[in-house]
């Protein structure tokens, strides 16, 4: 029983990371109906920047903040330079650009920082297990950071004028433009925010899995599965889905399929959701007007 509880708790800790990436994916999906296949690689690249800053002697939290600023700028610039011109292009062109970005980030990171595994420091110290032996300090700390991020994103969209404008731009771009919301700028802002959220996820997962250019490939898949499970039309659902996938992955890996087949679980979850409830647990079925 203790073992099971332990798996649930550490599943929640990794689930938080999937939840963050799932949130980043859903934010972009809601605004543009695109799935950013490069989200994971962008987060990985940001994490390398963080490591470079820490190695340059900056204190952890200063490097953390600087990385967020860098990632935000990176996301916004990518949206402006690469995606804005393709606003009316077919889906295939956009997926092509996302895949191209994925390759570029992955290889550039390997080229600049080498492909060897690198340890990444945790700001929460090493220490023994806490909360009755269930969680390591890093698991507890990263879960708190994740929850903090999710809360502030929610508050941002719920209570600020800017958040409202962004929601409006995603919901109905034409009318938003008419009432004076700079829709293009909102999209760039959304991309920047998504990249920053991804960067936080990267910095939280790196101490656990070690930093290498392929670090986020698995995380991205689980985040997809989480977003689908919770409902890709519902940010809160995607977050819950991310946590659920973390728990399923951990319990499945420990008791059912073993660690060798963990990635196949993402496929099983995706197919199961598509067969049983394609709109996800909390999503709504969209009807399109003809």
């Amino acid at each position: 029983m203790d073992g099971l509880l332990h798996q649930v708790f550490s599943g929640l800790a990794t689930g938080g990371i999937y939840a963050s990436v799932a949130l980043a994916l859903v934010m972009i999906y809601q605004a543009t109906h695109h799935i950013n296949f490069a989200q994971g690689e962008m987060a990985m690249f940001s994490t390398y920047i963080a490591l470079a800053l820490i190695n340059a002697g900056l204190p952890y939290w200063v490097a953390f903040a600087a990385t967020l600023v860098f990632s935000f700028a990176m996301g916004a610039i990518i949206q402006r330079v690469l995606l804005q011109p393709l606003a009316n292009a077919p889906v295939l062109a956009l997926v092509g650009v996302f895949i191209g970005m994925m390759l570029i980030f992955n290889n550039t990171a390997g080229w600049i920082f080498s492909y060897t595994l690198k340890p990444f420091p945790s700001p929460f110290g090493e220490g023994g297990p806490m909360v009755g032996g269930m969680l390591s300090p890093h698991e507890l700390g990263s879960t708190c950071v994740t929850l903090g991020v999710l809360l502030s994103v929610w508050a941002f969209f719920r209570f600020t004028r800017l958040g409202l404008a962004m929601r409006a731009a995603a919901y109905n771009p034409v009318s938003s433009q008419l009432v004076g919301i700079p829709v293009a700028r909102m999209l760039a802002l959304g991309w920047g925010l998504a990249a920053a959220i991804g960067a936080i996820a990267g910095m939280m997962v790196a101490p656990v899995v070690f930093l290498d250019p392929n670090m986020m490939a698995g995380v991205l898949l689980y985040a997809f599965a989480g977003a689908l499970l919770g409902g890709i039309t519902n940010p809160l659902g995607a977050v819950i889905g991310g946590f659920l996938v973390g728990v399923i992955e951990n319990i499945g890996g420990a008791y059912i399929v073993g660690t060798g087949l963990k990635l196949s679980l993402a496929l099983v979850i995706i197919v199961a959701v598509l067969v049983l409830k394609p709109s996800g647990l909390f999503g709504k079925t969209l009807a399109s007007r003809v």
Partner: protein, 321 residues
């Protein structure tokens, strides 16, 4: 008259492609060309579902892997002749494609892309899995032996394999051409361009998309079979998710919704990594990604659309399809 001559040029070109390498190429070059044939079939498979039908697949490497393993297992465990493995690989891949397409293609949007991406990540793990190790050889993989030319033909193994795969490819390319230029092909393009209108015209979207996906999986599976015989070895790590991405890139750069684009894409996959290596020793993949993005902006129709501008006789005809 004009159409006849353009078709004649095409036939002569294909004959030249079949025969000339036999005389001028070394064994290694023939191996490379055989791989081009395999990649061309694989890219054609991706093209059927993604280029013509507009359903994006990022996991065709999985079918390539299944085809390769079916061939390797049949040749290694049961000593069956290499040619008999191709139809079996085709049927198995079509079946897997159909079963996977059933849930993923019921809905529009990018669900197929997500599902296939997850499939591509899962396949190497499944191939390594202990329970199947008796069949798949686990991480060790399976070695097979290249077949000799039959009927006492005066060809060495490399030359024969090139001719054999070329012949298979010609048949499959003609079938694909007929498929996409007939009634079904028009339905596929209608689904891609205007799904609502297509449905209103009485096309069963889910049904046709799933069947197309099965056919495309079949093409890529046969490609995997040929590649396995050419390489004489299969192992889980040769089928990592990077392979699926490579096939996707080959399809886009060669030319989406173009039969000849599959050949250009295959040449790109086989030979550009060497060139990218020369441009930047450190980050060849980045060069690859950069080429992909540049193509999306400058020539979204891929190499095929560029060639079409220069191909004198068939130009207007090809563009109208």
């Amino acid at each position: 008259m004009r159409i006849m001559s353009s078709r004649l040029v095409l036939v002569l070109l294909v004959l030249a492609m079949a025969v000339v390498p036999l005389f001028v190429s070394s064994g290694y070059q023939l191996f490379q060309f055989t791989m081009v044939v395999a990649y061309a079939l694989a890219v054609l498979g991706v093209n059927l579902v993604t280029g013509y039908n507009g359903q994006i697949s990022l996991g065709h490497g999985a079918f390539y892997a299944i085809g390769a393993y079916v061939t390797a297992i049949m040749m290694d465990h049961w000593d069956l002749p290499y040619w008999s493995t191709l139809p079996v690989a085709a049927v198995i891949c079509a079946g897997v494609g159909f079963l996977l397409g059933l849930p993923a293609l019921r809905l529009g949007g990018l669900y197929l892309a997500l599902t296939t991406l997850a499939l591509a990540a899962a396949v190497p793990q499944l191939l390594k899995y202990d329970l199947f190790e008796g069949w798949t050889g686990g991480v060790q993989g399976i070695s097979i032996i290249k077949p000799d030319a039959p009927f006492g033909l005066p060809l060495n193994a490399d030359q024969w394999l090139y001719l054999f795969s070329f012949a298979v490819a010609v048949v499959l390319f003609i079938s694909a051409w007929n498929l996409v230029n007939g009634r079904i092909g028009r339905a596929l393009k209608a689904i891609r361009d205007q799904p609502l209108a297509a449905e209103a015209m009485g096309i069963d979207l889910a049904q046709l998309k799933t069947r197309t996906f099965a056919a495309s999986a079949m093409y890529t599976g046969i490609a995997g079979s040929i590649a396995a015989i050419a390489v004489q070895f299969v192992s889980p790590d040769s089928f990592a998710s990077a392979l699926s991405i490579t096939l996707f890139v080959g399809m886009v750069v060669g030319g989406a919704a173009s039969i000849s684009g599959a050949v250009f894409g295959a040449l790109f996959i086989q030979f550009i990594p060497n060139i990218a290596d020369q441009v930047s020793k450190a980050a060849p993949g980045a060069v690859y990604g950069l080429i992909l993005i540049v193509f999306m902006f400058v020539a979204p129709g891929g190499i095929a659309s560029l060639v079409r501008k220069w191909w004198p006789a068939g130009g207007s005809r090809a563009r109208s399809t």
